[in-house]
Subunit: 382 residues, 2 copies
């Protein structure tokens, strides 16, 4: 399907949200297919839970409709919604280059890569309830941070707001509590992929994250594609993954080509500031799913698993500003001549992904000024 | 209401789940109250989202029904379900004694309390989808861990399975993304409390948790009371909280008495192994909620916020085995003469909480043997 983007949820005027398939700048209304119980719905969850045979059958129908010139609604005439109700959100840390860069920046006196990193895909749970679709404005978060040199923390709007370029996969078919999902069962459970911008307030994160991990530095908002690209359409772009050394434990061995040859770019207020490719990720998606469930944790329709920031080895291939500007020490220049260390109010970030003729749903977000509600007795201004 | 426990969801025979109120060993069927849209439901979420005036009105009705001798169903004749659909699950670390003990055990060469601990309630997101109601058996998780002295990690069933005694609060009324929930708005948003057993595999946790926090060491299962005790019933047991030094930033200042005088105990296979009280927690529930939302993160009906392990200063008041046995170095003796360092297959853990005449829904769970599914080529056995 030339121009296929993926499944999503849209509405017209004051009409009820329903499921559609985006092709280029148009949306195919899937309520024409029947099955109101899955397509006349405000989320993709019911459809995604049907499983692979149903997904393939509907994709075939979509291809047929597209080829036969069925009516599509212009994208600009519809309202696009969050495509699925996010159940649990897990964020990994699966780019070797990103983990190395962040280790250097956050723990300058220690080995950048911790001893566990090459043995398992490190991950943690993020906040599912603050995941928003592309186009949602992002309010600059406030919080505690400790300015270097100060003895006590102070409160205020984050001064080190960042983006993170990530690839996420979405679960359709659930598993049973107590039973791991093997790496080779990935295709039976996973419906598709999205791009993810895991907005990060680096000053809040640096002060709060030990010992239990990121919390408020990330939980204010996470942006996601409004369209979920089905895994089936990405099969032609699966390629050999990077070599892993040491060889992972048996439960982390995924047969086949599981690196995704997906070209990625980040545009910041009109200037492309990063170009990279998802195929360089050290830990693959089936490895991530196998790891996250090897303890018997169950999965359900709407679970989102994101890769962590995707950074490449070259300058200009880093997926976050903290890496691109090396913690603000080397600001980057935008096309209009202005410099950026971190995000400024009014900045717009757009993530894009492309595999051959296939385009993933972009992720767009503009930074709004902080809503400062605790000004009195606040200690030193930051 | 003498013997009141709280709201939950139950079914009879093959009947549909619906909302009830537990009083002692009986359940009052709330579908008698009318409002099928909130009470003839499989979760409390719709009821909890109605807000405080509705909660108080229904509680009044419940008290009237109880006083007038309305029929109650014997608890032993009904099936009890998860009381609400858990949206996001946040776990704090708000006991000074527990954080100090864990710091000593996990980082023996450093200060036990990290610099941020007294400035903010440290917390992280857990897995909402694996929260189960009291009575659900817990399968011993498998995973990676590194045996001290070994160079590489190995895979197998956890050998250091633990419980954690916690108090959780449940959100009813949502907030808007971008707007913090002030500490003094706690009563407008929070419906009630539950006991929580945050099962923990200490060997998996120790190997995986840096730098992004606990993941598989916790995500296999978390047990929760099947009955939610409304906050309104606990008002008489709110007492003065411990003094905080240094004084927290303005957004963390909660007026009034916000420590809960709740006696707690942990029974392990028939022997009470820990007795403590929730009133000693350093960070209060309104402080936890204010902190978790100060960055603009929104909340929704069904969000669960747990305290973290509740440990007191005395021997025998610690809320986890790793503390009670000091990492297994000092096993405890049960009533039948057997010793425990960590949980064994077949062990049953029961958490109980009581405030005056009011009993919280207990949390009961029995450990089932691991389902080992990756035996081949596994490296050294553990």
């Amino acid at each position: 399907m030339i121009g296929a983007v993926g499944f999503g949820v849209f509405s017209e005027g004051f009409g009820r949200p329903r499921v559609g398939f985006r092709i280029g700048d148009g949306v195919l209304d899937l309520s024409a297919v029947g099955r109101d119980d899955v397509f006349a719905q405000a989320t993709l969850n019911a459809f995604m839970a049907l499983g692979r045979p149903a997904w393939e059958s509907v994709l075939g129908r979509v291809a047929h409709l597209a080829a036969s010139g069925a009516d599509v609604l212009p994208l600009e005439d519809v309202t696009v919604h969050l495509p699925f109700e996010v159940a649990d959100y897990v964020d990994f840390y699966s780019s070797l280059e990103h983990a190395t860069n962040l280790g250097r920046l956050f723990r300058p006196d220690a080995e950048p890569l911790l001893p566990n990193w090459r043995h398992l895909p490190v991950g943690y749970h993020g906040r599912a309830g603050t995941i928003v679709p592309s186009g949602t404005p992002i309010v600059r978060p406030c919080g505690q941070a400790k300015v270097p040199g100060e003895v006590t923390p102070s409160f205020g709007p984050s001064r080190r707001l960042d983006f993170e370029l990530e690839l996420g996969f979405v679960v359709g078919v659930p598993s049973r509590l107590g039973d791991p999902v093997r790496a080779d069962a990935f295709r039976e459970h996973v419906f598709g992929v999205v791009l993810v911008n895991d907005w990060s307030a680096r000053d809040i994160q640096a002060w709060e994250y030990q010992p239990l991990g990121p919390f408020l530095g990330k939980s204010f908002a996470t942006s996601m594609s409004a369209w979920v690209t089905p895994l089936a359409l990405l099969e032609p772009f699966l390629v050999a993954p990077p070599k892993q050394d040491p060889r992972p434990l048996p439960y982390l061995r995924a047969e086949g080509n599981w690196a995704l040859d997906l070209e990625l770019e980040v545009e910041l207020s009109g200037t492309v500031v990063s170009r990279t490719n998802a195929r360089g990720l050290y830990w693959s998606m089936p490895q991530q799913l196998a790891h996250a469930t090897v303890n018997g944790a169950s999965i359900q329709a709407g679970d989102l698993f994101a890769s962590g920031t995707i950074s490449g080895p070259e300058r200009g291939s880093e997926g976050s500003l903290i890496e691109l500007t090396w913690n603000g020490e080397s600001p980057i220049r935008l096309g209009d001549g202005t410099m950026r260390s971190f995000l400024e109010d009014g900045d717009e970030v757009v993530l894009r992904g492309r595999a051959g003729d296939l385009t993933l749903g972009e992720v767009r977000g503009t930074i709004l000024p902080a809503r400062v509600s605790y000004s009195a007795g606040n200690g030193p201004a930051r």
